[in-house]
């Protein structure tokens, strides 16, 4: 077997493992959101298991990338693919960690002391899960155009985070007994916002992998005026335990 055949096999395996890791990360985020929104405690352990599996895959992929560099000295498109994989596994691992962090606050946010008013978490989660999905698809399909579209959507999520922060803060001021749950709601919003950022990082690396173009992170923001896009303000549908979407509050009493 020639070294080129081995190299191609290794590259194929690398793509497969990264795609697998990405699917696990997406699943972890989806299940973490469902766990909180639908108050499903069984999903908590599942998300934690996924997080461990994601971490394990990161170790395997990192070793494969280093072996590929050391033994096969990839160049051009191959080099960009290996470097992209090395970078995005960190993003995927972080996405897995944030999913795990979200379910960690399950007990607090699903307590009887929850909020009556919507705080945008389900809507934000819908957007973020879609961003993770699209980021992963752009990697699998080598679609730099789809990857570029993620940056605008990140503005929407950032805006929702700001709205969530202000609304939650208002509720906490109105009723200091809700400070603990309110703080955790803000944390969940923050985790979701960070997951969206990591999706954009993946998109940025996909653009580099496909075109060789290095994007300046400062340039990828499309809305410098920080005003919220209309889509972010429009009421959206939330997760329901059937997998369908419905509009409801986190802890409606």
């Amino acid at each position: 077997m020639t070294s080129r055949i081995i190299f191609n096999q290794e590259m194929g395996q690398l793509n497969l493992e990264v795609s697998q890791m990405a699917s696990l990360a997406r699943e972890a985020v989806e299940k973490a959101v469902k766990c909180i929104v639908n108050k499903d405690p069984l999903l908590k352990a599942e998300v934690e298991r996924l997080d461990r599996e994601i971490y394990h895959l990161e170790q395997i992929i990192e070793k494969r990338c280093l072996d590929l560099i050391a033994l096969h000295t990839p160049v051009a498109g191959d080099l960009r693919t290996v470097s992209t994989c090395l970078k995005i596994i960190t993003d995927l691992n972080r996405i897995g960690r944030y999913a795990s962090d979200i379910v960690e606050v399950y007990d607090v946010v699903t307590s009887d002391n929850g909020f009556r008013r919507p705080v945008n978490i389900p809507h934000m989660a819908t957007l973020v899960v879609a961003m993770v999905t699209d980021a992963i698809d752009s990697f699998i399909r080598r679609d730099d155009q789809a990857a570029r579209q993620l940056f605008e959507r990140d503005d929407e999520v950032d805006c929702l985070y700001d709205l969530n922060f202000r609304a939650t803060l208002t509720y906490m001021i109105e009723d200091p007994r809700k400070i603990t749950v309110g703080t955790h709601i803000i944390l969940i919003a923050r985790y979701l916002e960070r997951i969206a950022d990591h999706s954009c990082n993946i998109g940025e690396r996909v653009v580099y992998m496909v075109t060789g173009e290095r994007l300046n992170p400062k340039d990828r923001k499309k809305s410098p005026d920080k005003s919220c896009p209309k889509e972010a303000l429009a009421p959206k549908l939330d997760y329901h335990d059937t997998g369908e979407l419905s509009q409801h509050d986190l802890a409606e009493k």
Binding site: R4, T73, V75, A76, G77, D78, L79
Partner: protein, 269 residues
């Protein structure tokens, strides 16, 4: 392709060996005091190109060259050009070390002894006065050339021994010293490390990087990692055509031409 202000400007260079069109309209500019690597598969015209730069193809039967190779604003293919002078100014080192069957000292002293020394005072007046080197001057020149080729410490105690007693890597550096002794402006290397082990190769590569401070260096190599390690610019040739010429980093990270990508990633053919 845009002609830049380089050390060597190549304009529409075509070479035929009998009916075989070996180089097809090559146009680019090799920058001064940089290392330019020429890469490409066997038979793509790399060596043919580099041999055109100091008119080595003149001695090949049925070889016909058209186009221009401009060095210092002068086309080296103009009829009034002194070919011997061209080969002094544009030195060449070959794939296999080829020292003369003489002592280490004589290998380096041989060419300056024949060419003689240009009188600096006459040169200032625009005149060309050449005289013989004195024994002391020749010794100094040989020592300086061997030092410049990073070989002095290894041979200073055996200058009168045969050059054939040296290792392959030392012989190659001796050949570089021999080239430097006639005060060239441009150095051409045709796969200078292909017959050497990795340690000798590393020494030659370090030397090349050091030499570019004073000389323009062109290197033909089959070893793409060598091109990536040492060259500032890289030119990719395929079937006698210049496919792509750019910063080495760009060629190996994000080549613009599909053919270049296919070649450097080993997916050609």
């Amino acid at each position: 392709m845009k002609i830049m202000n380089g050390s060597i400007q190549v304009k529409d260079l075509n070479v035929w060996f009998d009916q075989n069109h070996a180089l097809k309209g090559v146009t680019f500019s090799i920058p001064k005091n940089e290392i330019t690597a020429i890469i490409g598969p066997s038979g793509c015209g790399k060596s043919t190109f580099i041999r055109c730069v100091n008119r080595m193809n003149d001695i090949v039967p049925k070889c016909r060259v058209e186009g221009q190779v401009i060095v210092n604003d002068k086309n080296i293919y103009d009829p009034d050009v002194d070919v011997v002078e061209i080969r002094r100014r544009i030195g060449m080192v070959f794939q296999k070390p080829n020292p003369f069957p003489k002592s280490i000292f004589e290998n380096v002293a041989y060419a300056p002894r024949i060419h003689g020394r240009e009188e600096p005072s006459a040169k200032e007046k625009g005149e060309m006065v050449v005289r013989k080197y004195s024994k002391k001057e020749l010794e100094n020149l040989v020592e300086a050339s061997i030092k410049r080729a990073a070989l002095w410490d290894e041979v200073k105690d055996r200058m009168n021994k045969s050059a054939y007693d040296l290792s392959g890597g030392q012989q190659q550096r001796l050949c570089i010293a021999r080239t430097l002794a006639v005060n060239p402006e441009i150095l051409l290397f045709d796969e200078p490390c292909s017959a050497l082990d990795p340690i000798a190769t590393a020494k030659i590569e370090d030397l090349l990087i050091d030499l570019k401070k004073d000389y323009t260096v062109v290197i033909v190599t089959h070893n793409m990692q060598q091109a990536a390690r040492v060259a500032d610019k890289t030119a990719f040739f395929y079937l006698g055509e210049l496919v792509e010429f750019d910063e080495t980093e760009k060629i190996f990270e994000r080549p613009q031409e599909k053919l270049t990508e296919q070649y450097i990633t080993g997916r050609m053919g």
